[in-house]
Every structure is written in C-alpha cells, then in structure tokens.
C-alpha cells in the first residue's frame, strides 16, 4: 500500500488523512489548530464564528452524560473581524487545510461572514445551520429546507471556496434538508451536529446547563449519526463528512462504509487528544487488511446488496 492510501481529495479539499477536528473543539487559536494537526488531524475546523462577538452562555456550558456530553456554549466567538486575523495567522503556520465554521441570523449574515473568512484565507467554509441552542439562529435555518436553501445560495455567491453544510439531526427527514443544501450548491455535507437534549439535577430539581437545554454529542449519538449518513448516501452523490460519536478507527470505518469520505471528531478529544493519530493508524491497518488502496474504495460499501 502506498503511503498516500490515507490521503483524500474531496469537495475541493485535499487531506493527508480523512480525519478532521470538529467545530467548537479547541477551536479558537492557531496554536491549538497546530497542536491538533500535529496530533494527526488531516484538517481542522474552527469554532463557529458570526458577525458580532458573543460571550456565550453562563456556565455550566457542558454536562457529562452517559456515553457523551451535553453542551450549550452559546456560540462564544470573537466575531469575524477579529477572527480574520487569527485565520491569517493560522494560514501562515498551519500545514493542513483550515475550515472556517460560520453561523448567522440571516442569509446576509452568513454571506458576509463567509466572504470575510474566505478573504482571510479559509480553505473551506462550513455552515453551522444546526446549532440547536441559540434562538433564531442555527436551529431554525437548519430545520427549514427553504431557509437553508436561501442561506446556501447567498453564501455560494459570496465565496468561491468549497462550501460544506453541516446538517442538524433534529429534523423529521434529514434527506430533505440534504437535498435543499445540495440543490442550493453545497459542495459537501457534514453529518451531523448534536441532538437536542437536557440534563436535570434531582437534588436541586433544576436543569443543569446555564442555557437549560443543549446538544448531545459523543458515543451516545453514533448510531443516529451513522443512520443519517447512511440515509443521505443512499440518495445523493455529494461528499459526506461523517460526525457524531466517533472515537476509534472502527467507528470511523463504519462511517466510511455508510457513505462518508471524511470523519470529524469532537467529544472524543476530551479523553485523548491523540485520537486522530490512533484513528488514522487503525484506518490504515484496516485498508491494508481489506486490500483497499484508499478510503475511497470503501466509501458506501454498506449499501451493496
């Protein structure tokens, strides 16, 4: 097997290996991105950035649940103007693609942030239209085919960088949202963001998160995320970036077999920042064992009849 069995070109991005840091994980600073890249990630995604700075919600912003965590950060971010400097700085140093995740309250917001991020040097733009815990933003856009389509179209005009749309699982039929994104011009889909959830403390009889509700991530959501990838790959040809509960090479391979070409890893970073390396190693062994020349060879195989 050649050493580039792990490299993958997809939606205009070329990665040394098919793992990416998921948005929102250590996602602010160049030094963090570089550390994650050194830990073996094939690309990094920034924390979601909007037009204005936001300080986010009061703590607790993270609750640990069984096989996962529930978070409601509230999209803390410095705003695209300040963050553009960080993007420029990152681009000077980073040797892996930098995907800038963006959010907004309207199609115009998204377009403006996408434009600035692109100008600063983002290698691709990921639309966070699925963040379930900020009123009037992500949740609503990612749950409505019409709004989603509008946002994607506008962003498409504002930038010529590869456009990744990150879908929410909190919908009746995720393939309808996938279709809307694809038809509006998405170059790839990230599947999925977190599941809407809550944690309640029995002693104090109150919700624990500062924002009351949040998003469930981690191993608990893997079977749901995998099903979403499977459903979309069943119907569409678009490149899929699988995300949700991935913590070892076996999980990653499951996502490839379901139809993803790349995987993102978030929550598993808490237990082990070297997770990218160990997953990549595991994928490499697996490909060798299966006589596959590249990840592309196994993408979607679970759909064979």
């Amino acid at each position: 097997m050649e050493s580039n069995a792990l490299s993958i070109s997809c939606a205009g991005l070329t990665l040394n290996n098919p793992t990416m840091l998921a948005s929102g994980i250590m996602g602010y600073s160049t030094e963090s991105f570089q550390r994650i890249a050194n830990s073996g990630a094939g690309a990094v995604v920034t924390k979601s950035v909007g037009i204005q700075p936001r300080v986010g919600y009061v703590n607790p912003t993270v609750v640990q649940a069984e096989s996962g965590i529930i978070n409601a950060m509230g999209l803390p971010n410095p705003g695209i103007t300040i963050f553009s400097e960080e993007i420029k700085f990152s681009k000077m140093i980073l040797r892996v693609p930098l995907v800038v995740s963006i959010f907004g309250y309207s199609a115009e917001d998204y377009a403006e942030v996408a434009k600035k991020a692109s100008e600063a040097g983002a290698d691709a733009i990921e639309l966070n239209v699925s963040c379930p815990h900020v009123k009037q933003t992500g949740a609503e856009i990612g749950q409505s085919p019409k709004l989603l389509s509008e946002v994607v179209q506008q962003v498409k005009i504002a930038t010529n960088k590869p456009l990744i749309v990150k879908l929410s699982p909190n919908v009746t039929d995720i393939t309808i949202l996938a279709q809307a994104a694809i038809e509006a011009g998405a170059d790839a889909l990230t599947v999925i963001n977190t599941l809407k959830a809550i944690a309640i403390d029995v002693e104090t009889q109150t919700p624990i998160l500062g924002n009351i509700k949040g998003g469930l991530s981690g191993a608990a959501i893997k079977p749901v995320a995998l099903r979403c990838v499977y459903d979309i790959a069943d119907q569409f040809k678009i490149p899929i970036i699988g995300c949700g509960g991935i913590k070892n090479w076996r999980d990653a391979v499951e996502f490839f077999l379901a139809g993803a070409s790349i995987v993102q890893i978030g929550t598993a970073v808490a237990d082990n920042i070297e997770v990218f390396q160990s997953i990549t190693k595991g994928i490499e062994n697996y490909l060798r064992k299966k006589n596959a020349r590249s990840v592309k060879d196994i993408v979607g195989l679970a759909h064979r009849k």
Partner: protein
C-alpha cells in the same frame, strides 16, 4: 496526572459540611466527595452553584472523604457561594488536571492570593519528604494573608516570608521583591508558584535568569474543564487538561502569552 475518562466523572451533588472564614473576602468550603478526596495537590474541580454558575477551584485539602476549597469573593458566582450556609447543595465535577511533582531537597513555594491554597496542600505533602521548605506569601494587606497559622505549622519560622503592599504585616513590598535576594542566597531544587498570572510571569523570568526549575499553576477562563471548549488555552496547552501545573519547558513555550494575553469569554485574545 488524572486520566479519568470523562464518562466516569459526571457531575454529582453534595452538601456543604462546613464553612470557615479565612479573611474578609475569603472562605473555605468543606464537603464530601469521593472522587475529589483522592485528588493530588495542583488538581482542581468544577463547582456548580445551582442556577448561578460553575467555576474552577483548586483543591486546597482532602482528608478521608472530605474536600476543601478556598474561595475569594470576586464576582457573581463567588459571592453567591460566600452567601451559602452549611447544608446547601453544590455540584462537583473533578478532580481535573495534573498535579505538582513532589520534589525532594530544598524547596521554595510562592503563593499570591488564593494561589496559596494549592501550595498549602502541596506543602503538607512535601513536608513528609523534605525538611527544607521555604514559603513566601504576598497579599495587599495583613488580614488577606491566608493560612499563616497553617504554614507556620509546616515550615520553620525563619523559612516563612510574608509581604503586604501596605506594610501591615511582613515586608512592605510585592511578593517578588524578597525573592531576588533569596534566590541569590540559597539554592533550590524546585520552585513552586501559584498566583496572579502577572506575578507568575515575573517569577518565571527570575528563575529563568538563574536557570532554576519551576512549576507554576495557572488560572485561565474555564468552561468545560475537560479539554474541549478551548476557553483555557495558553499557547498550545489547555490549562484544564494539560495543566494547570506547567514546568519550566512548557512555560518557555508559552512565553508569548504568559501574563501578556488570554482568551476572553468571546474567544478573542485579550491583553492582561
């Protein structure tokens, strides 16, 4: 180094068993918690004040299943905590982060403000291994000097140096001042420091000039406490997961940020 998988360290609630007033603005809270009672000096926990906030606090002491934290009222969360009474319910996650290495030989500990708390915890452990402990503590004014009696129970009187800015106790100067002559006079196998980041930075410069080994415990904005959110990042390190204790080599790597800028609530870099 704590390597509890996050799943085994979910938040649990407990009742405050005892509250001790340490100074006009500082109280110690004692409660039972099985996991945190196994913590080592340097580690911290996340304390939930129900309905208000969740904040990182260094563990000041443990005994059997009891855990103590020493808290200065500086804002909303800490003031609410100060208003609590024994029996009140709090939530705990942790222990998180790494701990101080326990050096033998001649050891110097330098604490500023509530930074004294984890150093006191450390000093108790070190006292079992070494008999040369020098403790330097600084505060604004006499009644803000924490744990004077406790420190006196561990170190010989001649090895305790206190400073106040207003001269109401000890030397009238910043805590860094007596250090210069101390480091001139004596040789140390290890220097431990915990306090405001600007103080840490100054002391690190002094130890670097003299090529002395140092371990510093840092404080940064913390949200998740488990290495995910990125709020506490300094250089390439996460204070919550890779720290809070950093050694000489690591401190060198973060020189551009130490005491200079940090990540604010909105994720932007803000100057100190």
């Amino acid at each position: 180094m704590s390597d509890l998988p996050i799943a085994n360290n979910q938040m649990r609630t407990t009742q405050i068993v005892q509250i001790r007033t340490e100074s006009p603005s500082v109280k110690t809270f004692i409660f039972t918690d099985r996991l945190c009672s196994k913590a080592k000096p340097g580690q911290f926990l996340m304390l939930w004040i129900p309905g208000i906030d969740e904040i990182p606090l260094s563990i000041m002491d443990t005994s059997n299943s009891l855990v103590s934290v020493t808290v200065k009222a500086v804002g909303d969360a800490t003031r609410h905590l100060h208003d609590m009474v024994p029996g009140a319910t709090i939530g705990i996650r942790g222990p998180f982060g790494n701990d101080f290495t326990e050096s033998r030989g001649r050891v110097l500990l330098i604490g500023g403000g509530t930074g004294t708390a984890p150093l006191l915890f450390l000093a108790k452990r070190l006292a079992l291994k070494t008999d040369h402990l020098v403790f330097v503590e600084g505060a604004k004014t006499a009644n803000e000097l924490l744990f004077i009696n406790e420190v006196a129970g561990i170190c010989q009187e001649k090895n305790i140096i206190t400073t106040t800015e207003d001269g109401t106790a000890g030397l009238q100067c910043l805590v860094t001042q007596p250090l210069a002559s101390l480091l001139e006079k004596e040789n140390f196998n290890m220097i431990y420091v915990c306090g405001p980041e600007v103080m840490v930075k100054k002391i690190f410069e002094m130890t670097e000039a003299r090529k002395l080994p140092i371990e510093a415990s840092l404080e940064r904005l913390m949200r998740c406490g488990i290495g995910l959110c990125g709020s506490c990042v300094i250089g390439k390190y996460r204070v919550c997961r890779d720290g809070p204790v950093f050694n000489t080599i690591q401190l060198r790597e973060m020189k551009d940020e130490l005491g200079i800028s940090k990540i604010g609530f909105d994720g932007s870099r803000i100057p100190f």
